[in-house]
């Protein structure tokens, strides 16, 4: 095989590229050539290690030593000491921030791994269309343990002890929910899996179902055993065709093995699962609306209590959990409640999956222990803000959440801290915004979404959100007045207090949090007709800077509405009455001759 005795892995992630990883690589390569070691040592540029704060990271193979904050000038010492003499370069080793001790042994060289994959443990490892691969990775073992060695209440005790809370957003203790459903008397009970994932930019549940459908099936059977339900229903959006097809394959395979059906694993317990399709209404992620939709009624929420655990699908006790919640269950049984509870914070145990999106370098799906800070998520795992721009805010919890500003970067992420900060955990969408994002426009975007998705049953949500959206539209059009800010605040609070379900009760959050943290931006819009981020088109003006214009005609030729006039090699002119503020002239101009104001 390989002729190389050593391999030097240089982090070339976008975050580290800013800190000279190309130079580091070339200084290694040049020096190796100089010393005649190029046949023995290979230098490779990798993607992000996920610990950008200490970047650039260099990993030595095969001994796995990791060096942090490496500079191009360190290459010589690393080659001479590490490769030639076999000594680690002490000063470049990672120092534990708490104890101050240097990490030098192989066993602890994985300190840069900030993620733990529990819910995503099989995603990207097993073939989701092969039940055997799931079984090879302890699949259905937890079910076996529950059915043959534990009583239903013992299983529930374990779930309670683990501290697992609902991963769909609300954070209700999962064990307690199971216990309530179990204790309600009923001849027929139901177990439901909520796959109505609707937050813009969120795809945690889809990924789990596409990558590991059996984990959800296994957990639903365990849930059925605990609560006394013999029937499971998966409510999934029809717009997730791949997830649906893999789930169908998984269900068929589980039935063929007898893991679904009658007398599962010889225990006498019967359980089967059906799929129900949703048409993609956001409100159907709310459990009562979801249940009505499954019953064939309009997807509208109803007042709680009664909770679905008491009276749910067809009026029977129904336990509704989200995909990610279920994905944790088999691990809790296999590894133990204490193991699970050792991860996370005091009141929020385990890990949370986040879909990182927006103005961030490493867009992707991550799973971190609860209690990880936003800074670690955004700057280390996420590789920082795209284009080296300044962080402005992050929206967690989708349209129901709020914006968290730079002052919360060091807040440990858990259910309670996010609520206290005016946002919420939500299902795990995390949208990162930079200095170019207008907070009023973002709030308007989310309100536009809520207005579309409101089911219309109660007036505060149906009418109130519409009015909120209109006010925001007025402000971004430059027609707002200062009193609008008070109107927004008052109306938001009315909607929160008076709406029937979670959708309306949380929909004003983007407005309230942006008003709280970015009031000066609202004021700039209404007082000075100025959008500080330059995003609100009605408030932006494109003009030609006469001194800089060379008359190259590039803007004239690219303007889609013919608003630009001018002769070759003469100063051009933008007709403001025709301009649609698309910004093409600004992008195309090679001389910086377009002024945005």
């Amino acid at each position: 095989m390989s002729e190389y005795n050593f391999q030097i892995l240089v982090c070339g992630g976008t975050g580290c590229k800013a800190s000279e990883s190309e130079e580091i690589r070339s200084s290694f390569v040049n020096l190796l050539n100089e010393y005649g070691l190029e046949e023995e040592v290979q230098v490779v540029l990798t993607d992000c290690f996920g610990f950008c704060e200490k970047g650039p990271i260099v990993k030595m193979m095969p001994d796995k030593t990791v060096y942090v904050r490496v500079k191009p000038s360190d290459a010589d010492e690393i080659i001479k000491e590490h490769i030639v003499k076999g000594n680690q370069v002490e000063r470049l080793l990672y120092r534990d921030p708490v104890t101050g001790t240097v990490v030098r042994d192989r066993q602890h060289m994985e300190f840069y791994k900030k993620q733990i994959r529990i819910a995503l443990r099989n995603c990207g490892f097993i073939n989701p269309e092969e039940i055997d691969e799931y079984i090879a990775h302890d699949g259905y073992m937890a079910l076996g343990t529950c059915l043959t060695e534990m009583k239903p209440m013992e299983v529930i005790e374990q779930i309670k002890k683990s501290g697992l809370r609902g991963r769909g957003g609300g954070g209700f203790p999962t064990g307690l929910k199971w216990e309530i459903t179990a204790k309600v008397p009923g001849d027929q009970k139901y177990v439901v899996c909520n796959v109505d994932e609707g937050d813009p930019g969120a795809f945690m549940d889809r990924s789990i179902l596409e990558g590991d459908p059996h984990t959800v099936i296994e957990a639903m059977i365990i849930n059925g055993y605990c609560t006394g339900a013999s029937k499971g229903l998966v409510y999934i959006r029809a717009e997730y065709p791949l997830a649906i097809s893999r789930l169908k394959i998984a269900l068929a395979q589980a039935r063929a093995y007898g893991l679904l059906g009658d007398d599962i694993l010889g225990s006498g317990f019967n359980f089967d699962i059906e799929i129900r399709y949703g048409a993609g209404a956001f409100v159907c992620g709310e459990e009562t609306a979801l249940i009505h939709s499954m019953e064939g009624c309009r997807g509208e929420p109803t007042f709680k209590p009664p909770f679905p655990s008491v009276s749910g699908y067809l009026g029977k006790p129904t336990n509704v959990n989200n995909v990610e919640t279920y994905a944790n269950i088999p691990v809790i049984i296999n590894k133990g409640a204490d193991w699970f509870a050792s991860i996370g914070t005091e009141k929020s145990k385990g890990t949370k999956v986040f879909a990182l999106a927006g103005k961030i370098n490493n867009v992707g799906l991550i799973e971190v222990p609860l209690g990880t800070t936003l800074r670690e998520v955004i700057y280390d795992i996420g590789g920082g803000i795209r284009g080296g721009k300044k962080f402005k805010a992050v929206q967690t919890g989708g349209p129901s959440g709020g914006m968290l500003t730079a002052e919360f970067l060091d807040t440990p992420i858990d259910y309670d801290n996010l609520l206290a900060a005016g946002s919420m955990m939500g299902s795990g969408g995390m949208i990162v915004m930079d200095e170019d994002d207008c907070m009023v426009a973002i709030a308007k975007f989310y309100l536009g979404f809520t207005v579309e998705e409101s089911c219309g049953k109660c007036a505060p949500c149906r009418i109130g959100n519409k009015r909120l959206h209109e006010i925001l539209e007025r402000i971004t059009d430059g027609k707002g007045e200062i009193q609008d800010l008070d109107r927004l605040f008052m109306l938001s609070n009315v909607i929160k207090d008076a709406s029937l379900c979670g959708l309306g009760q949380t929909s004003p959050n983007p407005v309230l949090s942006s008003l709280k943290y970015f009031r000066q931006e609202y004021e700039a819009h209404v007082k000075a007709s100025h959008c500080p981020a330059g995003q609100c088109k009605a408030l932006v003006r494109y003009e030609v800077i006469e001194d800089k214009c060379t008359g190259c005609t590039l803007c004239f030729r690219n303007c889609p509405v013919g608003a630009i006039t001018g002769e070759k090699r003469e100063v051009h002119f933008i007709d403001q009455s025709l301009c649609i503020k698309c910004g093409v002239c600004f992008e195309k101009c090679k001389f910086g001759a377009i002024l945005v104001s």
Binding site: D47, K113, K114, R121, C123, G124, L147, L242, Y257, V363
Partner: protein, 132 residues
């Protein structure tokens, strides 16, 4: 498929598939086969994972490389799709990002055949449940 009717059955099944999949040291498959997994969730497929997979299948067959190529779910590196994980016999898995046909060819020629690394490796940046 024969039914699994007891926990003992399930355990037997687990051992048997672990051997077949090369997850055990004494398994034949682990010694001889190159294992290739292509991230085929919605995001991967949208970025061209299916073309990458087809290319890998054709090219390994063409070059008579003993490879088992399967699909898998999302590895989480959306910024680097399509992603491919390759395990050479007896070695630790290596994940590559941005694997289009050109990259796939480079990976076959350099990594699979010669055992050299190639640029674009995605370091494993998470702990598994067994590592924690």
């Amino acid at each position: 498929m024969s039914k699994i009717t007891s926990v003992a059955d399930l355990k037997k099944k687990k051992e048997q598939v672990q051997l077949n999949l090369g997850l055990r040291e004494n398994s034949d498959a682990a010694d001889t086969h190159v294992q290739i997994r292509v991230g085929m969730a919605t995001c991967g497929i949208a970025s061209g994972a299916r073309e990458t997979m087809n290319f890998l299948v054709e090219e390994t067959r063409h070059q008579a490389i003993d490879a088992v190529i399967t699909q898998t779910g999302c590895m989480g590196f959306c910024y680097a799709e399509p992603t491919v994980e390759i395990t050479l016999p007896g070695k630790e898995p290596v994940v590559f990002g941005h694997v289009d046909k050109t990259k796939a060819r480079e990976i076959i020629d350099r990594f699979i055949i010669k055992g050299e690394l190639a640029d674009g490796i995605i370091p494993v940046n998470f702990k598994t449940i067994d590592e924690y």
